[in-house]
């Protein structure tokens, strides 16, 4: 399915959800569950919190179904909710408490990156070390820069759509992104 057809399909499905079609909601959930979940995980870097926030995203979509109007792309709306929840969570300072659970692998929300099933122990250690540096570099970015990078890199969103999600201009998005990438180059260039 082409990207445009997919976007139109999203709006069409959501309009059916508005009319009470639960199957259409299930289809939307199936299509967007993964991207939303992964975006939130990379934002908050805690599996349990990311799952809770992702459920909240879809809960809000479901609750708002009666008043849904396709004035923007469905994914713009979806990621606007997700970004808002993630930034609120980060602002409320819970990230600091959750970081302890990441570091000592205890508490709720253990991290679940894809395990490296191949290679020697040394290769696995190198992989884990690299991953740790990448996660730290992303975590060091301010909230909106982090969100912009994640949407640009992993969701392959264009500048104008990221601007719609963040509620700012396209030039502001470019400024956020380029500053973020500059920071990441400084921190991760040695991995090359």
């Amino acid at each position: 399915m082409t990207a445009l057809a997919s976007l139109e399909r999203d709006a069409e499905l959501m309009l059916r959800v508005r009319e009470g079609d639960e199957t259409s909601f299930a289809l939307l959930l199936n299509r967007h569950r993964g991207p939303v979940m992964h975006f939130l995980y990379r934002m908050v870097q805690n599996q349990g919190v990311a799952e809770e926030l992702a459920q909240e995203v879809f809960l809000r979509v479901y609750k708002a179904r009666a008043s849904y109007e396709p004035t923007a792309k469905f994914t713009t709306w979806l990621f606007r909710i997700a970004t808002h929840l993630a930034l609120n969570w980060l602002r409320d300072g819970k990230a600091e408490k959750a970081q302890d659970s990441i570091d000592d692998n205890s508490g709720d929300g253990p991290t679940r990156e894809l395990p490296d099933r191949s290679g020697t122990i040394e290769q696995k250690l190198v992989y884990e070390a690299r991953l740790g540096e990448i996660r730290s570099a992303i975590e060091a970015l301010p909230g909106k820069q982090r969100a912009a990078v994640l949407m640009h890199k992993y969701e392959e969103m264009e500048y104008v759509q990221i601007a719609g999600v963040l509620g700012c201009s396209e030039s502001a998005v470019k400024s956020l992104l380029f500053r973020a990438y500059e920071t990441l180059r400084a921190r991760l260039a040695h991995l090359g």
Partner: protein, 165 residues
């Protein structure tokens, strides 16, 4: 192709190049430029490293429990009374209230401190008072001159009539 570092859009060009969103013609032009520009080669290499590093951050699929938990939450939400469904989504965190309260207190304090200042000296009043004083001075000076005239002292003729002015 002009060097992106001289045109100020090196960041946009770099990102477009490493993310593969350039047209084939643009990509060819940039690669031709990089062949002769060490600065751009270095930046492009660093950006590619970042891109590859981010590619390596892969995540597992979402757990099977996700949908079941979500539907349970939706069902629980549906059981709530309508007023709680309407307003239950609002979480009143007190933390944002602190800066708002401080801002309100600052505004109130500024208003209370500023009110006497309004009575004292807005910018226009001194200028008005100065003009009035000057007019009085002029009038007194003219009166003095009239007196001098009456004493037959030589004095220049007044420029305006003494009465009713």
């Amino acid at each position: 192709m002009h060097c992106p570092t001289t045109t100020g859009n090196e960041a946009e060009v770099l990102v477009a190049y490493t993310s593969g969103t350039m047209t084939p013609a643009e990509q060819e032009a940039f690669e031709l430029h990089m062949a002769g520009c060490a600065g751009c080669r270095q930046l492009a290499a660093a950006q590619k490293t970042v891109w590859s590093a981010l590619d390596a951050w892969t995540l597992p699929p979402v757990s099977d429990e996700f949908d079941r938990s979500l539907h349970a939450r939706i069902a629980e939400e549906a059981r709530l009374p309508w007023w709680k469904r309407q307003w239950g989504g609002f979480s009143f965190s007190w933390k944002p209230a602190i800066p708002v309260a401080v801002a309100c207190a600052a505004l109130a304090g500024a208003f209370l401190l500023h009110v006497p200042a309004i009575d004292n000296a807005p910018a226009t009043l001194p200028a008005v008072q100065t003009q009035k004083i000057d007019a009085d001075q002029v009038e007194r000076a003219l009166d003095d001159m009239d007196m001098l005239n009456q004493l037959d002292a030589p004095a220049p003729a007044p420029a305006r009539t003494p009465e009713g002015s």
